[in-house]
């Protein structure tokens, strides 16, 4: 990174280190020199409307009660904090606790944000929501919330991601959503966001853009974080109850960074808690084929926010690469860029190989199949556990929380291919069982003819 730490970041770092300032009150639009609204004028009125509606809702006990009710009786919150005892042996003996966002309805943390935003869409009188999705988790969650609240839903998904996550495409369609495959650019998450923005600017009177990560123009980073803060608040209370003390470290994976900021937020002011964000290192950051925006990017603007960005010398966005569709994004939420600059959070890359090793390890030691996104956090936690227990007589004094942001059912085909479990027809070896999406009645009939 050749950009020197600018003045506001240095001031914030000094204030935090002196124990004076809370990092929990950042409401945007700026996080240090990051964030803002690098957006077409056409969308500014809509962003103002979202911000105004959000500010009022946040202060309205009725809205909060409605949200809490949905979180509890629809999503199944609070999610569990599960100690992973056999997995811990591989992390230097540190006690590893999994924040089980995989157990939420729809199988990931994404539901927290979509329920909040879908309620806001109703408050604004919108009849239609649009969303982008990478792995399909946010798309499925959006389709779910839209069905629940009676909203029309259109999901933009990169054509490459539609292929990687065919089952989630079918899930969204079953839930009544329209899935639009995006064939522009790298055909992944960033291009899906571009097309969603084009839709939004054309249909803004009827439509709310249900952005799925803590990135984009103000108020999205602060608003999406708000809806996910419940993750960290629950985890903090649960670890205190289970161990009687704060954890030594918390870990999460970072694509846009919504599950991470939701977990981190409750711990930002606990100076004794080390915080780690794990970016997708793809084939390895030295290969150029990765999605590690903070590790190797430099500040720029994309999708409405100034943040760390993977870009070339001309400022063109560089295509990111990751085995995980949900982390395959060349930028990151602006608050993460700020937390990186002030040194409060440490961001490190995890390669595809490290993530998939951790994926298999969790399956076999705990009987939990994690999302490949979350496997990046698990791989990171192994390193953190080993580091923090080094030289300790009793490594079990060290405790680490990992955000298990989603379940891995959607990743079975990717994992089966990675671990060489498939034959050349895509069937599980030795069987005629395909991991691919089953064919519908129409296609079956066609084949018979």
């Amino acid at each position: 990174m050749d950009a020197p730490t600018s003045k506001p970041e240095q001031d914030a770092a000094d204030a935090f280190l002196e124990g004076g300032a809370s990092l929990r009150n950042a409401s945007g639009p700026y996080f240090g020199s990051y964030g803002g609204r690098w957006m077409p004028e056409s969308l500014i009125a809509a962003l103002d409307e979202v911000q105004d509606t959000f500010d009022k809702a946040k202060a309205d006990p009725e809205f909060i009660a409605q949200l809490n009710d949905l979180n509890k009786n629809y999503s199944g919150r609070p999610s569990l904090l599960t100690e992973a005892k056999r997995f811990s042996e591989h992390a230097g003996g540190a006690r590893i606790f999994l924040k089980r966002e995989d157990l939420n309805h729809t199988g990931s943390h994404k539901i927290n944000n979509v329920l909040g935003q879908a309620l806001l869409a109703k408050r604004m009188g919108k009849t239609r929501v649009i969303a982008e999705t990478g792995a399909g988790q946010h798309g499925v969650a959006s389709a779910t919330a839209a069905a629940l609240l009676g909203l029309e839903c259109v999901v933009y998904m990169g054509a490459e991601d539609c292929r990687r996550q065919a089952l989630n495409v079918a899930r969204m369609q079953l839930l009544g959503a329209t899935v639009v495959p995006v064939t522009n650019g790298s055909q992944t998450l960033k291009d899906a966001i571009n097309d969603a923005l084009r839709d939004w600017v054309s249909n803004v009177d009827t439509t709310h853009y249900l952005l799925g990560t803590a990135a984009g123009a103000h108020p999205f980073p602060a608003m999406v974080r708000f809806f996910h803060e419940v993750i960290g608040e629950e985890a903090r209370a649960q670890i205190l109850e289970q161990t009687g003390k704060l954890p030594d470290a918390v870990c999460a994976c970072i694509g846009g960074g919504s599950n991470a900021i939701g977990l981190f937020h409750a711990f930002l002011d606990d100076a004794s808690v080390k915080i780690y964000g794990f970016e997708a290192g793809g084939d390895g950051v030295e290969t150029g084929r990765h999605a590690a925006a903070i590790t190797l990017g430099r500040p720029g603007v994309l999708h409405g926010a100034r943040s760390y960005l993977m870009q070339d010398e001309d400022g063109q966005t560089v295509e990111s690469h990751s085995i995980s569709a949900g982390l395959d994004y060349p930028s990151v939420g602006p608050e993460h860029s700020y937390l990186a600059d002030i040194g409060r959070v440490t961001y490190e890359p995890i390669t595809d190989t490290e993530a998939m090793d951790a994926f298999r390890l969790l399956c076999r030691t705990e009987g939990i199949l994690p999302a490949i996104e979350s496997a990046h956090a698990l791989a990171g936690a192994i390193k953190v556990g080993q580091r923090l227990t080094e030289g300790k007589a009793d490594p079990s004094e060290v405790s680490v929380i990992v955000n298990l942001s989603g379940r891995g059912d959607k990743d079975v085909e990717t994992a089966a291919a990675w671990f060489d479990m498939l034959d050349e027809n895509g069937n599980v070896k030795g069987t005629t069982l395909s991991t691919r999406a089953p064919k519908g009645p129409a296609e079956r009939t066609e084949e018979q003819n």
Partner: protein, 270 residues
């Protein structure tokens, strides 16, 4: 607006006004299909009736652009377009014509080069200024400084959704003209010009703008005629890009000539 800077864009619009007509502003992407061809297409624009030329910088994530411009700029990048070549395109057109040449760009490429450096090189190339589709005045402090330093025009956008407060703020921030987005949407040809454009132009004039030009979805001589009746300039993009795609430089010249026939206000009354 800074009064001590001579705006090239304003001068070009005023020359058209003195002839009793609206100005024609044509958009073409730099480097499409290659740098030399884009210079020739720009010259053809100017020689066939365009008063101002808007040269777009191909960008990886053009969220305000529809399929025609996306396809062209994607091809330009695939053909090896480099951002610094935009200065060659500007210099090539300004050397051969009297048209004011503005650059239309998403903000990240400017930020990456450095706002001051980009502005200095644009001014050296003879460019009039910048049109900035994803930079609002609220975020433009660096650009204010650089555009004043190098005497460049700052063309910000207003939209049918802009509040009266934002119209006034944007008008104050702009130099050269104000770009009125005719509809809520992205670039691309459309059957008809939205009715919201005329009201937006009137509101923008009322907010203090001397020159307001209308773009987005303008593609035919009839559209031009309709808009020329109430706006100071008419901006055509996708239709010209499609002309380059389908018929090269000659097709650009021919379409520009047809479009410019719609500019005279008296024909609009007829």
């Amino acid at each position: 607006m800074s009064e001590n800077i001579t705006s090239k864009a304003a001068a070009a619009i005023d020359r058209a006004k003195a002839e009793g007509r609206a100005a024609l502003i044509g958009y073409l992407p730099a480097g499409y299909p290659d740098v030399q061809s884009s210079i020739e297409a720009g010259i053809a624009l100017a020689r066939n009736g365009a008063d101002l030329i808007e040269i777009g910088i191909p960008y990886s994530d053009p969220v305000m652009d529809g399929p025609v411009i996306q396809a062209a700029t994607t091809e330009a990048i695939a053909n090896g377009f480099r951002v610094a070549s935009v200065f060659d395109v500007v210099a090539g057109i300004t050397a051969a014509t009297d048209a004011a040449v503005l650059v239309m760009t998403y903000w990240n490429p400017v930020m990456r080069m450095g706002v001051d450096e980009f502005s200095r090189r644009l001014a050296e190339a003879g460019g009039a200024g910048l049109i900035t589709p994803d930079l609002i005045p609220d975020e433009a402090s660096e650009w204010f400084e650089a555009s004043d330093k190098y005497g460049l025009d700052r063309v910000f956008l207003v939209a049918p959704s802009s509040t009266p407060e934002r119209l006034e703020m944007t008008v104050k921030a702009s130099r050269g003209f104000v770009y009125a987005v005719s509809i809520m949407g992205i670039t691309g040809t459309r059957q008809a010009v939205s009715g919201s454009a005329e009201k937006l132009v009137a509101d923008t004039h009322a907010a203090g703008a001397e020159r307001v030009c209308v773009g987005l979805g303008v593609s035919t001589p009839d559209h031009v005629r309709e808009i020329a009746a109430y706006a100071d300039g008419v901006i055509v993009g996708s239709a010209l890009v499609a002309a380059v795609r389908d018929g090269g430089v000659d097709a650009v010249g021919k379409l520009t000539k047809e479009l410019s026939a719609g500019l005279r206000r008296e024909t609009a009354q007829a």
